[in-house]
């Protein structure tokens, strides 16, 4: 009878207090490591930068090859301009329409991957 109201009450107070306390100490330690440029902080930041640069490079390279290849493709295969889809020349359809969803998709995939990298980094820092 006395246990029932006490348990949820204690849970509420303890959970919030514990989380913020834990975060404060861990956060402060981690950022001190990084701010004071200790060996550990330096390694952590370098690995995060490499991970972020890698996904940015993949997205950039994919876009550069796909889009950058188009003028060359048009130059070596001029007969492409003769192909019509739904009454519109294929070259126009590619450049004026198809390019945009691809660009947005690349951006979306990058944002997801970048946020995942940051989450991994934050988790790692919290554990250390």
């Amino acid at each position: 009878m006395t246990v029932q109201p006490e348990v949820p009450q204690r849970r509420v107070v303890v959970t919030s207090a514990r989380t913020s306390a834990v975060h404060r100490t861990r956060g402060a330690t981690a950022s001190r490591e990084i701010d004071e440029q200790t060996a550990l902080g330096e390694v952590l930041v370098r690995s995060l930068m490499r991970a972020q640069l890698r996904i940015a490079f993949y997205a950039f390279a994919a876009t550069a090859v796909l889009l950058g290849g188009l003028p060359l493709l048009f130059a070596v295969a001029p007969q492409l301009a003769g192909i019509h889809v739904l009454g519109v020349p294929l070259t126009w359809l590619l450049l004026a329409v198809a390019v945009y969803p691809l660009v947005c998709l690349a951006g979306w995939a990058y944002v997801r991957a970048a946020e995942r990298n940051e989450k991994d980094f934050t988790d790692l820092v919290d554990r250390s």
Binding site: P78, Y100, C104, G107
Partner: protein, 573 residues
């Protein structure tokens, strides 16, 4: 053409801009409010504002005009303007926001701890800002002249005054509301008339621009040649002229044989329905068959493959170096929001750019007379009136005109804020922050206004392309290497900015001031990005390597700050 509706529409846009700007005054009080809206703008509002600011005269009018004149190759302009944001998202958005700098010179100084790099960056911000403002003001003049017959200088002056009133009174906060409103106004101003235009086009049996081998007038049209003009005639054609043709006074039908003809200033030419349109010399791709094909020709030279790649490089890499684009990223609350905002911007731009493309393709069928006068930038303004008659046509024309004005106002406001911010911080620091910003705004607008009145007229999208080329050759290497490479030194950055920015600026000035011709020299000078960008990167890397014992001592700390999520930052740091 009825100009009353247009004047009302332009007045409404101007009124709404000033009104929304005034609304922001009550909210902005401190220096940080003036510059970056106190960093508390939501991603959707911010993305709309970025879209509104970014879609300039070049996007709203210029893209359609270039497509009308040169066809397929010009589709790279909107693609480049959009992919520029993808590259910005991949390499710059979140770290730049986390760097905590207000402006590009702030970034340069905090990253490299060098006043010289800061001053050089300030100079480049002002230069790029003015290069970009000039075509906006020219576009405003063109629009007002096309719509109402007002004198040439009035549109630019009007935009300059309204922008000054908005910026000086409210700074960035009011700008954010104004810009977001103007993005949606621009979308509406192109899409609504397009629905009517496409309906009429469909009702006429969906005529293809390539149905004839040369552009042909569909309805009898009279054009007035504003200044002396050389025409290239591929197929003999009879026009009715009133004025001077080939140095002879003419009043009545005149046969233009195959070859070149000179038409005097002020001459009126009437082209009957079914007449092949004589086109201005070196203003356009002549045949519809080459117009529709890729790699068929560019405005200023005869090397389309080189031109395409150089343009792609300039727009992909130049967007991140435009001062008015970067300043927007400081209004995001954190790095993650900066990324999400940029992704939203990609979506908004992708949705927008289909519209001017369709206008440009339809214009080849319905407004080919613009190929005669060379005023292809006004295609978007004329198309709704050509296809939809009566009051409906007038209202749609008024809507497009209003959208065009929104484009000039929003881009000019954003540029003015950035340029003025830099001038206020680095040139007039003794006046007190807010007062310096106001004085700087006047300087920021007045200089390009004067330039726009005296400089030779380039096609809008072309002129903006030059600003992109300078930005890609200077700030792109500074940002990319500054954010991702520990080895960058102040000396290296200076070498890169001087080599890249200097060469690109020289190429731009030579192109604008002289006519370098249509050969390789013309191609290299009018599309300088392909060689300036690699040289700038090279100079920055080699310069940094030579001075590698002088890497700024705080580099690790600055990079850690830029790349780590805000949640792990300590309260003290």
């Amino acid at each position: 053409m009825s100009s009353a509706a247009d004047i009302v529409a332009v007045s409404l846009v101007t009124g709404a801009t000033v009104g929304l700007g005034a609304y922001g005054i009550r909210l902005s009080r401190t220096t940080s409010d003036f510059y970056v809206a106190a960093r508390s703008v939501s991603p959707m509002l911010n993305a709309s504002a970025i879209g509104g600011e970014y879609l300039s005269a070049a996007s709203f009018l210029g893209v359609a005009g270039l497509i009308l004149a040169y066809g397929e190759d010009m589709l790279w302009y909107p693609v480049g303007y959009t992919v520029g944001y993808l590259v910005l998202l991949l390499l710059v958005a979140a770290p730049l926001r986390r760097s905590g700098a207000y402006t590009l010179p702030d970034f340069a100084e905090s990253r490299l701890a060098s006043k010289t790099v800061r001053r050089l960056s300030s100079l480049l911000v002002v230069l790029i800002g003015w290069l970009y403002l000039m075509p906006q003001l020219q576009g405003a003049s063109l629009t007002l002249t096309t719509a109402t017959g007002a004198p040439r200088w009035l549109g630019g002056a009007l935009v300059a005054v309204v922008v000054l009133a908005t910026v000086v009174s409210g700074g960035m906060r009011s700008i954010t509301f104004v810009q977001a409103f103007q993005y949606w106004l621009k979308v509406a101003a192109l899409s609504l008339p397009l629905i009517f235009v496409l309906a009429v086009w469909h009702a006429q049996g969906s005529p293809s621009p390539t149905a004839t081998s040369l552009p042909v007038m569909r309805t009898t049209t009279t054009v007035r040649v504003p200044e002396t003009l050389d025409l290239q005639v591929l197929q003999p054609v009879t026009v009715r002229a009133h004025g001077v043709v080939d140095a002879r006074a003419v009043d009545g039908p005149v046969l233009l044989t195959k070859g070149r003809h000179r038409v005097g200033s002020g001459t009126q030419l009437t082209l009957d329905a079914g007449t092949v349109v004589p086109q201005a010399v070196d203003a356009s791709t002549q045949l519809n068959t080459s117009w529709v094909r890729p790699l068929s020709g560019t405005p200023s030279h005869d090397h389309p493959l080189y031109g395409t790649y150089s343009l792609v490089l300039a727009t992909f890499l130049g967007t991140m170096g435009l001062p008015h684009v970067l300043v927007r990223f400081y209004t995001n609350p954190d790095g993650r929001a900066a990324r999400r905002t940029t992704l939203l911007v990609l979506g908004l731009l992708s949705g927008f750019y289909l519209l001017p493309t369709i206008y440009g393709a339809l214009a080849r069928t319905y407004t080919p007379d613009l190929l005669l006068t060379g005023q292809t930038d006004s295609a978007v303004l004329l198309l709704p009136g050509r296809l939809v008659g009566g009051t409906a046509g007038e209202l749609l024309t008024a809507l497009v005109t209003a959208g065009a004005f929104a484009a000039f106002l929003s881009t000019s406001s954003g540029l003015t804020v950035s340029v003025a911010g830099v001038i206020a911080q680095d040139v007039l620091p003794r006046l007190g922050s807010v007062r310096a910003f106001r004085v700087a705004s006047v300087v920021a607008v007045a200089a390009p206004l004067v330039l726009s009145l005296v400089a030779a007229r380039l096609p809008l999208a072309d002129a903006v392309g030059l600003a992109f080329a300078v930005a890609a050759s200077s700030f792109c290497p500074l940002l990319v290497l500054g954010i991702w490479w520990r080895g960058l030194t102040a000396a290296g950055a200076i070498a890169g900015l001087v080599v890249g920015g200097g060469l690109a600026t020289t190429a731009v000035l030579v192109t604008v001031a002289t006519d370098p011709g249509r050969g390789w020299l013309g191609a290299l000078l009018s599309e300088p990005a392909a060689w300036c960008v690699p040289l700038a990167f090279l100079a920055m890397v080699v310069g940094s390597w030579v001075t590698r014992d002088r890497i700024p001592p705080g580099t690790s700390r600055v990079l850690a700050r830029m790349h780590t999520p805000e949640v792990i930052w300590s309260g003290a740091g």
